[in-house]
Amino acid sequence: MAVDVAIAAAKALFIVLLVVQVMGLGVFFERKVSALIQDRIGANRAAIFGFAGLGLVNTLVADPIKFLLKEDVVPASSDRLLHSLAPILSLVPVLVTFAVVPFGDVLEVGGRVVNLQAAELSIGILYVLAMVSLGVYGVVLAGWASNSRWSLLGGIRGSAQMISYEIAMGLALIGIVLTYNTLDLQEMARAQGTLLWGWLPAWGILYQPIGFLIFMTAGIAESKRIPFDLPESESELVSGYFTEYSGPKHLMFMMSDFVEVVLVAALVTTLFFGGWQIPWLYRDGFHFPFGGAVALPSLAVAVLQVTSFALKLVFFTWLQIVIRWTLPRFRYDQLMRLGWQGLLPLALANVVVSALLIVLWSGRSA
């Protein structure tokens, strides 16, 4: 009993720490990749107690400290309770979503087989959708409770945008659920270990390429970043729904933005790019399709898989940041048209075609 609790706590701690590390790397990319893209040097001169030797790393340490030490200004005419609640409601749903994201297959320690997933929920993917839909409240309440017009406009834009793209996101996920015939993210990751024609790993992208494009687009829209950053749009709304936030609460909004980026990366990895899978690596080691095998102990396999998951996570975080610094912002009508007239019909067609193909080819029935 005590051991089970300890294992569960360790798994939860591990995934949160992993996410926070990747988030830190995301901030690093945000600073330095953007500087590269715009042909400048980027942040490089924060000194902590006179020591500036680590360059950007200093900045990454100094930034959160600065936010935590700043005064937390609450506007006099705001709704104090909801003003404080909004950043929490923005960050918590995103963080707890990682509970169902598998970061490895199984680890055998001391006769126990530990499933490397913080919470084994048979309805994992619905849990993800539920938490994503709860994330809207942070935006709505921040916009309303600040009692400022910029915030209110940002909040209204944000909630409309998130509701619109949630639908396309959910429909893209239906295609994936049809393909793997399960709602459990760990089962999906395991199913991607099978081989097509004896050599090609059956990753989700091969079955659901259109689903991937829809999911990725809707995911970036859900995280409210350029080109979908109209709720924030600093050139017209100051800072949108979190205009009236400073200090630690502002930090929480920024953090939830970055954690959302990592979440989209984690879901794309798990659903479409094999999750923790490494091609031809199984629980007992590598089995190459061209002959040859390398036997590995369970611990080594688990370490390789977790590393593979982390690297994929970093890659898709990087990809989103490059997209963010490459594209201009949409106009609001373009945003709504893309969501309702572009992604939604495409996602519906994807579901119908996927279902037809599955029934006709694999002959799967109830």
Partner: protein, 170 residues
């Protein structure tokens, strides 16, 4: 374990108290936004009860559909209309008396109904209870007709809403 409460009973009592409290807040609070937030917390707490009853799918659908979609739309409308704290319309002593009487009668009905209810089966539910596959199988075999009729009803409502919106336009 007579006399001592198990962990699950204690958890149930705490959750039940919180649920009643937030449900009361929905009704009593003067500010519509606060009421809506309390409604969200009530719905999420109810979802926890479904979880405790092994009905995972129902729990998560409760969060997705009610907390995640419907109340967001409530809030959206409240924000668009920019409603501030409302003075509640009490509607005169006669209405208050009638409402109180109705409430008491409903409470009596619930309590007496619970008293007459059959004891829950001693045996636990079977394996796979509340799982999506089991629920879906029932839904698409035994209850197919009601399911399709319900979706038809929803479709009619959507078409009606679109028709009304078009009429208002021009």
């Amino acid at each position: 374990m007579v006399g001592a409460l198990g962990v699950s009973q204690v958890a149930f009592l705490i959750l039940a108290a919180l649920t009643v409290l937030s449900a009361l807040t929905v009704v009593v609070h003067r500010n519509p936004v606060h009421s809506a937030v309390a409604l969200v917390s009530t719905l999420c707490l109810l979802a926890l009860f479904f979880f405790a009853l092994d009905a995972q799918l129902v729990a998560i659908l409760q969060v997705i559909v009610y907390a995640g979609a419907i109340v967001v739309l409530f809030l959206f409308v409240i924000m668009l209309l920019n409603l501030q704290a409302q003075s509640r319309a009490t509607g005169g002593p006669l209405l208050v008396a009638a409402a109180t009487l109705g409430g008491v009668a409903l409470a009596g009905l619930v309590v007496s109904g619970l008293g007459r209810a059959a004891a829950p089966p001693a045996a636990g539910v079977g394996a796979g209870f509340g799982e999506t596959a089991a629920l879906a199988r029932e839904l698409f075999t035994a209850y197919l007709l009601p399911f399709e009729l319900t979706s038809l009803l929803l479709l009619v409502a959507i078409v009606g809403a679109v028709a009304l919106a078009k009429k208002a336009d021009g």
